[in-house]
Symmetry: D2
Subunit: 290 residues, 4 copies
């Protein structure tokens, strides 16, 4: 008799801190026949807020996600938790958005194809035509060419939203999509839209950060993945990295070196999001890294 595929669930929660939360959660899971595989927690002593991520599986038999949620609800209510409970075996639906430079897009799709990143690409939205991305090999992934000009920005964005909505995308990744989203759209995508900015924020916000970095003469350049908010380049930071540069590096060299930083920082942020490792903490993030 073949063994059933092993189940695994991820619980994240945030609530006001008070004694006994861990005991309550661990006790609840134990009594429900669920075994904790991993647990990480964080107590923000400045805001007195508590955050936790728990991975668990059933000790025996199979369980239904909906039952787990229903059973957890009373405890969650008692502590006033903001919480999620998900099955990592069900890949998230992800919409990818891109402008002319496709190194982040190509990298995310490569990681998806070899099974490193578990998600379902429900579409690619680009403001450049399909042939721009010929060598990326989009295959069967729906491609939406939505060019944008100053005059058509509003209509274009309306179409963007329509496509996202109809696709059922749970996550939108701005993989070097170089158009600023309106407040309305960012509000609709709150907490589920990740952007990669090609600087080590808060340095060099806005346009042409590598040229800004060159002009300032910094000795390291970086990239920042963050959730998109209505404040440009001010959203909660998920991941950042840098690399050393020298006076010899031209702006073009920075662009080249930056591509490597951008794609690895964005991939890390997307993976952490897909694995429910990120919990929002006001304008900051708690990232329970592996």
């Amino acid at each position: 008799m073949p063994s059933a595929p092993s189940q695994r669930f991820v619980l994240t929660l945030a609530c006001a801190n008070r004694p006994g939360i861990v005991a309550a959660v661990a006790g609840h899971l134990s009594q429900a026949g669920l075994n904790i595989l991993d647990a990480q927690q964080y107590d923000d002593t400045q805001t007195d807020r508590f955050f936790m991520r728990v991975v668990f599986d059933p000790v025996a038999g199979e369980v239904a996600l909906d039952d787990l949620k229903r059973d957890f609800l009373p405890l969650a209510d008692r502590f006033g938790m903001v919480w999620t409970l998900s099955d990592p075996g069900t890949p998230r639906r992800v919409m990818l958005m891109v402008s002319r430079f496709d190194h982040c897009l190509a990298d995310l799709l490569y990681r998806w194809r070899i099974g490193e990143l578990a998600f379902e690409p429900v579409g690619v939205i680009a403001n450049h035509p399909a042939e721009t991305y010929g060598h990326v090999g989009l295959g069967d992934i729906p491609f939406h060419h939505l060019p944008v000009t100053r005059d058509t920005k509003l209509e274009q964005e309306a179409k963007v939203w329509e496509i996202i909505r109809d696709s059922g995308a749970e996550l939108v990744v701005l993989a070097r999509y170089m158009q600023v989203l309106s407040d309305g759209l960012t509000a609709k995508l709150a907490g589920r839209c990740i952007n990669i900015h090609h600087s080590f924020l808060p340095g060099f916000k806005g346009a042409k950060p590598y040229h800004q970095a060159h002009a300032r003469g910094v000795k390291l350049i970086g990239a920042t993945a963050h959730y998109v908010t209505s404040d440009l380049d001010e959203g909660p930071i998920i991941a950042q990295d840098v690399e050393p540069i020298t006076h010899r590096d031209t702006p073009d060299d920075l662009v080249r070196k930056g591509r490597d930083i951008e794609r690895r920082v964005l991939a890390r942020a997307v993976r952490h999001h897909l694995e429910d490792r990120i919990i929002l903490n006001g304008s900051k993030t708690v990232v329970f890294a592996d």
Copy 2:
């Protein structure tokens, strides 16, 4: 009325993995009026062994460490735990050993003096005379000059052990002490003697690792802090770091660049040990880093 100084305790444990450990520990602490401030766990799926570190404080009033230990014993026995329970407010007694190069010694003492590393230096054992370390400012720390030659090695080590034993040292740090300890002494110091080796192990074991690195033409050099075992440079690794080098670097440059790596790697390992963040896992370490 002044508030009592806040208490805080650290529990570490390792045992065979089975469902319900977290619930049992969290439930025990909760029922004893203790609040979990931080908890980290690790399940080694290869050996099916479970590791945990819990920081907690009393919800109200004060508690005695001995009472906490007595109360935890039954649960520890039930799960067959190897465990420690300690009060980080009581600084550990630390013996420092050094040869000619004192950059690690000077660094550890600096961190101790400004309160970054909480320990009590119970002595410095050196095979070079006191004037070698004149500028380090040993102050009141007992200094033991124990020169060593091929012929006096055994006697010298006997004196080393006597001093360690009499000092009540809980941790011995080989801060670039360049004598190989005998199997007998390493056995006595098992799990409580940290060495800094000036290479990225397992590369370049043994003598003159920077010269070995230069001869091989590597492009990074490193340092490794590890617990000392009878197998030279083979003990459980606690921390490692590296820095880039180039063909232009002479062996002397590597020695210079290496000093910076060594002192920060050793300081990190010592801090993790003092904070009970390290649990031995066979020939490896579990390090619950901050």
Copy 3:
């Protein structure tokens, strides 16, 4: 009138050190109407050998590479130089070899497609069938499937050599090609065959280095790009890099994290080779990095 495309040349040289080399080279170029754009030099004081890389362009008009070589010959002979003079505008012919894991292959081809790495891919040799690399998008690049077994190793390698020879490949890149080359073939490819080994050499030579690293419990993993010699994993190192890992990382996690290190280290080594930035110095390399 359109301006002529700007010319640029790269000279590399190695010879016994003695006073006046820089003056002789700079004087020669200046008198020939050539302007030094960049120059880097290195004096190995252990071997008393001198290394130099000079980038220059004609002050006016155009010059022929063959004329430049002919004119430089007397000076090169006088100093007993081992030297190269090349036109970076002429892309090198590169043969790529790969086994099952294609992340390095995909990465190199992506960098080639967007113009980051200037070379001409003259073929891909794989011991797995073409469909393995379907998503990489080989396009028009000749693909050679040369499966290999213990019994057919000699014949297979003979075919490998034939393909390399007929392709006119100036550089062979083992982009995770997991077969050991024979001494005969490595001799034929001396100084123009780059391998990526998935460990921080000299640690963890040979097979399954990530599993070796996991077993040893190191806290960093790395990758090493080196020229292939008959000594397995002992060739001159070109580039290395590492990333931190923790006790939580399984061998599979190391493989995943390692992919990112491998592809960036190999790409860096290939770029430095293509730009004539590497000069062999016995069993080591001089890398005039940008």
Copy 4:
């Protein structure tokens, strides 16, 4: 017969770029019986300005620095060079300034004591009393306690300048000296006053950068060494570095982790300055790193 101590000189120059500079400099040195040991150059194509650093020694006999300067003057004039020529065997006179936190001061003095940094400490100026630095072991280095309040700022700074001037200091290092210097004083110290700012500039200028970094939720913190100008935290950057942090790090943790970054970044900048590796390029630096 004992060999004469080996001489070595360092030439730095900057001028408008034009063909033949390298040939002219190399030819001049060669004809003067001087052998180039190392040479690095940089051509800023944006400003068309040329920078060079040459290390040389006499082929035979001894030479006088003043003679070398006199002989080089005509060539320097011909190309309109801004240049320096110095003997690294003569340690520079360095004034150290510090406020309450002395980790950078202690680190610089340690490196000086073991001979890693070659300079002559001509004094320590502090706005805290001598006992603050008791464990640093200032020894014979003149100590100047110049407390400062809002009302006495002008007079205090006048005394600071007097001490610097009378000491003959060639370099002033603000080793976490937390007072803003006036425009007048920064003008007097132009190009010879290095500050360490405890953030990765241009992020988090001004006061309490670690608290700013914590509030923003960045995932890396850094430090920046730069020449002091009248624009606060805007001077030419010499060296920068960063380290990863997580949501778990409190502002106090950032201060602790930052100390390690600050001291190594400042030490690197000071070393590069003392070795004449830095040439100013407008508001940026050319750093001919080793």
